[in-house]
């Protein structure tokens, strides 16, 4: 895999698409953001504030990168930027492209198989109730129950966001140890790599400061529902001010310092919690300034 480029010789998916197939939209967004960081088009601060180096989308190789570059123009926390990118129209287009190619399940397909799963539950309940109410044959009821379980299991597999073709495509990709972008796509920023006990986080490999990496802290609960894969939930406080807005009692900005959980599996949710301080700077507009 070459960073930011397709690799038609080996697979037909781009790094962002590989990220999506490996970890959902949040992972694809991570790939876009990391590619921009590696290219010097974005910079990340020690506290995790990501900002565009140039105020244009020049240098963005994909629509997702162009979105991330624009979104970071005013400086955003890493987790927040990834969440925003993961819910962008550009990401939706990337997803649709994967659906069209048969790598991802469409929303309709997932809805259908979700309904089938629900119906199997209803069927199982009816079978059990029939035994009690209508003295239905217990053997038949158990048979129906087992059938419902099998159908439910099958529907669960059919409902998975990544279809067999997508999984196969992703499995064809071998990520080399020096392919930083590929590692992000495969494991995610908050994923762990290396052999025990020398394991480390992917963000560490990228040289991201611990306090910035901490903004990628994963939530303990997998509340994101598996339906659309990873997404980031961020809660950021900013301390911005302008010339006279900050007072002496305006407490500045702390920094988060929590640790990151680990996971390198596919779809999951990630939560980031951070706080940042944006500079007051000085008055700038018009002719005034300091």
């Amino acid at each position: 895999m070459t960073s930011g480029t397709r690799t038609p010789g080996r697979t037909g998916v781009s790094p962002e698409e590989f990220g999506y197939l490996s970890g959902g939209p949040g992972r694809a967004a991570e790939v876009a953001v990391v590619r921009l960081l590696e290219a010097g088009l974005l910079r990340i601060s020690r506290e995790g504030v990501v900002s565009a180096v140039a105020a244009t989308a020049a240098g963005a190789a994909t629509p997702l990168e162009a979105y991330a570059l624009g979104a970071a123009r005013t400086g955003r926390m890493l987790g927040e930027l990834i969440k925003s990118t993961a819910t962008s129209d550009a990401l939706a287009a990337l997803k649709q492209h994967l659906v069209d190619r048969g790598f991802l399940a469409s929303a309709g397909r997932r809805k259908f198989w979700g309904a089938v799963r629900t119906l199997t539950l209803v069927g199982a309940f009816v079978a059990m109730a029939s035994v009690a109410v209508f003295h239905f044959n217990v053997g038949y009821a158990i048979l129906l129950l087992l059938l419902a379980l099998v159908v439910r299991w099958f529907a669960g597999r059919m409902r998975r966001p990544v279809r067999r073709a997508g999984r196969r495509e992703a499995a064809r990709i071998t990520v080399m140890s020096n392919d930083r972008l590929g590692i992000v796509a495969q494991h995610g920023l908050a994923g762990r790599i290396g052999q025990f006990p020398q394991q480390y986080y992917v963000w560490e490999m990228l040289g991201i400061a611990p306090s910035a990496g901490a903004t990628l802290r994963r939530g303990k609960r997998r509340t994101a529902r598996q339906n659309d894969g990873a997404y980031y939930a961020s809660s950021c406080n900013s301390c911005s001010s302008c010339s006279s807005g900050c007072g002496a009692d305006n407490s500045g900005c702390g920094s988060s310092g929590s640790s990151c959980g680990s996971s390198d599996s596919g779809s999951s949710d990630s939560g980031s919690s951070c706080s940042s301080g944006s500079s007051c700077g000085s008055s700038c507009g018009g002719g005034g300034g300091d």
């Binding site: 910079r43 601060s45 010339s243 500045g252 900005c253 507009g285 002719g287």
Partner: protein
């Protein structure tokens, strides 16, 4: 001034470019916006710079020393606490007001250059100095307007302020250029009139000109005219320090390094 004799060339520390500031070669000192710092929770980057021995100077934007209202002592005390936490040799703010009648202007507003306004400013500066643990330097601003009936030029106004309060001066050459371009002031006369021996350090910043009006954006590259003014100042005095201010639209590390190198080159050429 002790340590101020050799501040060198520095850059304004901002959270977005903290790592850049840390790794830029030859950054001799940095300046932080005091209102954005909490004494109990200094940014890791600032702590690291201090550990390296890099002077960190707090720069305030909210004391509003030119206000007719008395100085807010809490703001002064916060500035002093930040200075102590950073081990800073001095602090600074502006010759301006940002509040009046309970309203915040959201901008640095020029003080009328009258003797009455100077009396008010001097009183406020003395109050601030009495509550600060380190010397205070005051900066000339880029004015959006000039109040009518001024009795003193800006240079005379600052000279008298220094004489009556013993404060230091922080001269922003970009603001000098802005005032020259927008208000028609004479930067050379300004430099002739101010007591250069009280110069603490110098600000250099970028801006952009639209329709004949210079905008002191701190978000664009430093213009040659501003560097020329720096050279003019350097030909008169060897400033203890010169600091590049950049508050938005941060360029690449190499671009910032080039701007710092350009400042050094001007200082060397006019030595």
């Amino acid at each position: 001034m002790g340590v101020l004799d050799k501040l060198g060339v520095g850059i304004g520390w901002r959270p977005e470019i903290d790592l850049t500031v840390e790794r830029l070669p030859g950054v001799d000192f940095v300046e932080v916006v005091a209102e954005n710092l909490h004494v109990e929770h200094l940014p890791e980057s600032i702590v690291l710079l201090r550990e390296r021995g890099v002077p960190v100077l707090p720069h305030a934007v909210s004391l509003s020393l030119g206000s007719a209202d008395p100085v807010d002592v809490h703001r002064v005390e916060h500035l002093g606490a930040v200075a102590e936490a950073l081990g800073a040799p001095l602090v600074s703010d502006h010759v301006c007001f940002v509040r009046a009648g309970g309203l915040d202007s959201g901008h640095l507003m020029p003080v009328p250059r009258t003797r009455d306004a100077l009396d008010v400013l001097v009183a406020n500066v003395k109050t601030a100095q009495a509550n600060l643990p380190v010397p205070l330097a005051l900066e000339n601003i880029a004015a959006l307007l000039e109040w009518p009936d001024g009795e003193l030029t800006e240079g005379q106004f600052l000279a008298e302020l220094v004489e009556r309060t013993d404060c230091h001066l922080l001269i922003d050459v970009a603001n000098l250029h802005a005032n020259a371009r927008n208000l028609g002031t004479d930067p050379n006369r300004f430099l002739d009139e101010i007591p250069l021996e009280r110069l603490a350090y110098v600000h250099v910043a970028g801006g952009v000109e639209h329709d004949g009006v210079y905008h002191d954006t701190h978000a664009h590259a430093v213009r040659p005219e501003v560097l020329e003014l720096l050279g003019e100042l350097r030909s008169r005095v060897d400033p203890p320090g010169v600091l590049l201010e950049r508050d938005d639209n941060y360029p690449s590390d190499s671009e910032l390094a080039r701007e710092l190198a350009a400042i050094r080159e001007v200082l060397a050429r006019h030595a």
